[in-house]
Symmetry: C2
Subunit: 204 residues, 2 copies
């Protein structure tokens, strides 16, 4: 294992290469379904070399998760309590949808893990995600109390945004197969915009 003080040029490059390959393989097959050999081949390195940079397969996985969790939660962090409520939410929905389009592997990585009970992620989720959700739920509730958006259960509202947007990444094969030649991401933005506008616009 390389020394941890001031990583060399090679260390930086190889760690990044390995994590990129790990994302590709883990997201496609899940933790158990992925093999270190697959990741090594994908990375263009030898298996012992991977294990020189990461002490175990498990370590690659958790390194990957913690590297990506921040990126994954950023769109929610950007919700601005001072902004125009309906527009803030609609913008959040679009950011999440963009992520499903641009980072589908990341989405599937998390999906794979959570569907199987999130054995290697529960701790991170029950701190970072939990706190963030509580914070933003409070914002949503204040908007509802102020009559800026329709009254609903704030957490279920957030779940619905996650479900609807991530569905396009996580179930990509199914969605594409059912839509034929039409690209799902052509109509999805407008669909979701309409959906949440109707849901949240207060009755005047």
């Amino acid at each position: 294992m390389p020394k941890d003080r001031s990583p060399t040029r090679i260390q930086k490059k190889n760690r990044a290469t390995i994590l990129e390959a790990a994302l590709e393989v883990f997201s496609a097959h899940g933790f158990r379904g992925a093999t270190v050999d697959q990741i090594a081949t994908q990375a263009g390195l030898s298996k012992p070399n991977l294990l020189y940079y990461f002490p175990s397969k498990e370590a690659m996985f958790t390194a990957l998760l913690s590297e990506l969790l921040d990126t994954w939660l950023d769109p929610m962090r950007e919700i601005n309590p001072e902004g125009e409520p309906l527009e803030e939410i609609l913008a959040y929905v679009q950011r999440k949808l963009q992520m499903s389009r641009d980072l589908p592997r990341e989405s599937r990585l998390f999906a794979n893990e959570i569907v199987q009970g999130a054995p290697r992620m529960l701790e991170a989720l029950s701190t970072d995600l939990r706190d963030l959700l509580e914070e933003k739920s409070a914002v949503l509730e204040s908007w509802m109390a102020a009559g800026k958006i329709n009254q609903t259960h704030p957490k279920h509202l957030m779940f619905s945004i996650w479900a609807l947007t991530q569905h396009y990444a996580d179930f990509d094969v199914q969605v594409r197969m059912l839509m034929g030649t039409e690209d799902p991401f052509d109509a999805a933005p407008e669909f979701l915009e309409t959906f949440y506008r109707r849901m949240l616009t207060p009755k005047s």
Copy 2:
């Protein structure tokens, strides 16, 4: 392998026991993550005995899938083209939500498979599900054309129903962790009812 003509009492019972155990294990760990030994233990039978009833792990999996696919698609089949449009859709949403509550293992079994590219399911999906979706999309479109429900993309509408309802089963751990002591299924029915009523009720 048992003869396939007129299964004996024992054959019926053991096949059912094995498939139940297989559902438990496959839904929790995915195809690759499940082991025949785990399924055998879960079923209370020996590993060679499982392989006496099913020629391979793969065969157990596909047998399970094809046994469950019909059940899985039933709620959609029940949408009645002659019924009151909005109520038909709302009832469908509730049926799907019920399935997430009552059959979460089945939901996760399919989720696991589809997230990983549905390598063992694409054929079934691209016939049964595809045809059914086309049929019901046409019904939705006729309802929209008649002004009974708001105009939207029918397929995206169906995707949204699947995403929102299955989310409660597939991401169960996450949802429950974030909701604390509150049961997600307490508020979900009303939340989804409101959601789709606002989305679909035509502007008068």
